[in-house]
Symmetry: C2
Amino acid sequence: MKEVVAGIDIGGTNTVFGLVDRNGKIIAEDKLLTTSYPDIEEYVSVVVDAVKRSCSRVNNIKLTGIGIGAPDANYYKGTIELAANLVWKGIIPLSSLISNKINLPVAITNDANAAALGEMIFGAAKNVKDFIILTLGTGLGSGMVINGELVYGYTGFAGELGHTIVVPGGRDCGCGRQGCLETYASASGLVRTVLYMLSEMKEVSSLREIAPSELNAKQIAEAAKKGDIIAIEAFDYTAEMLAFGIINAIVFSSPEAVYLFGGLANAGDLLFDPVRKYVDQNVMALFRGTVKILPSGIPENNAAVLGAAALAWKELSK
Amino acid sequence: MKEVVAGIDIGGTNTVFGLVDRNGKIIAEDKLLTTSYPDIEEYVSVVVDAVKRSCSRVNNIKLTGIGIGAPDANYYKGTIELAANLVWKGIIPLSSLISNKINLPVAITNDANAAALGEMIFGAAKNVKDFIILTLGTGLGSGMVINGELVYGYTGFAGELGHTIVVPGGRDCGCGRQGCLETYASASGLVRTVLYMLSEMKEVSSLREIAPSELNAKQIAEAAKKGDIIAIEAFDYTAEMLAFGIINAIVFSSPEAVYLFGGLANAGDLLFDPVRKYVDQNVMALFRGTVKILPSGIPENNAAVLGAAALAWKELSK
């Protein structure tokens, strides 16, 4: 019998899950529409049934635990709390709801923490004890590992580096404050920077042809690769702001590596080259050359499931 | 036989040490002039002899380990590295030099980390697993405890919160960069703020009678208590900057408490009241009300020795 865990990634629209072995191999995968189940009890039944069905289709496996990645999840309490992007309101004790149905250990954490665990157990950080992962999508999520352990903090919500204020009185942030790192250093931050540069600069740019609501990081990366000045400047500024967030994180925890993951990180050298340059220029001398800025080692389309599965394996190893 | 450790605090001018029991009671104390021993071998001999002499004067004790707090100390390597304020240049393997002479376990860390351990083992943080201590003297030192463990990071130099950049292009910092937190939120930062306000504002102030090189935090606190507008404004701005550093640290590690220690913290309510107000106003909503801002529980004149002793006890308990 091969032991597997189920890694479940709960998104606003879809719930994706996979059966994952100790080496990070995904043995089976399935998904369902989160939005179809506004009743949490029904959702739990449907997910548990789906996981069991997947297990029954594979020979010689034994399900030993479940890990869940979800927005606004609290690891300590096993809850999802006040999630703005999910159909369930209030405080949902998801771990106990699922564990009561399937009688297995269940752990839950937020998406970025799951990404950190995925990186640590299956990805590029296998032998790295002190690192930070930044997930650069619509927002900037982060997970921090110190001395081989994910940092949860007193509340369970540690690792909100996207909400470090980098420009007091700066851009409006979804958190209700202004100038947070994620309003600059994220895929949506890059779009905002392009809009600002279009307002300030006179250069011809293909980005002037795209409605702001349609504009995305991929288009900006493509324009930059074709020599679009606005796009290149926007990437440079985004990298400078990201590097600023990184150098302030470095004086805190002195990581060996910072991994970049997600939509914006897919721009490759366009992002990594200037980020490395600005970190090197501006980091405190004591830490210069001590921190590697690296791409994640987890394929993006599997990351959420592998992160959730890594959480399950980590819990089982305790 | 009562077990004790020696806590040694190495300063630029003085070296102070004490024999400390498990409860943080200082059984004997002595000091010597650091500057008298530019030869490190001689210094080590003198310190070890002095510790032995102190032990021989007390009945029924057994010395079991040594902890050292020193500037620019590296816990992992047991070294003092390139310390600007000490007589010894280069990289000094102090732990092994002392341990070879006395045949006991020796550990070393920097002053602020020692303060964190002192707080955790003997002070106000005895039952607190996630906290930050900020030592507000000439600079701003910090020690972070996460999940009951001091954070050293990959390099051993983690916890340099004083060198978080809070004002890009701001005040010149001793680290060679600009706008670091400690140039605003420290005793010397407060003095700089007074000088700036004296330049900007027309108010009558007793602080105009003091030469800048003579001006210190205590005088400014006294002036503020007497209603001096410049002094009050300077404290308020210092508190706002300190709170800014704290709210950005909170999103990182979500501590249960932040302890303030050192010269500036002695100003009491004058500092704590506005710091708490600004933290509460500006912290990310997710963390509002979760973090206590508290004075250190260790008497200032014993803090360095108790911190170093706490390191020794912590190592012995491993």
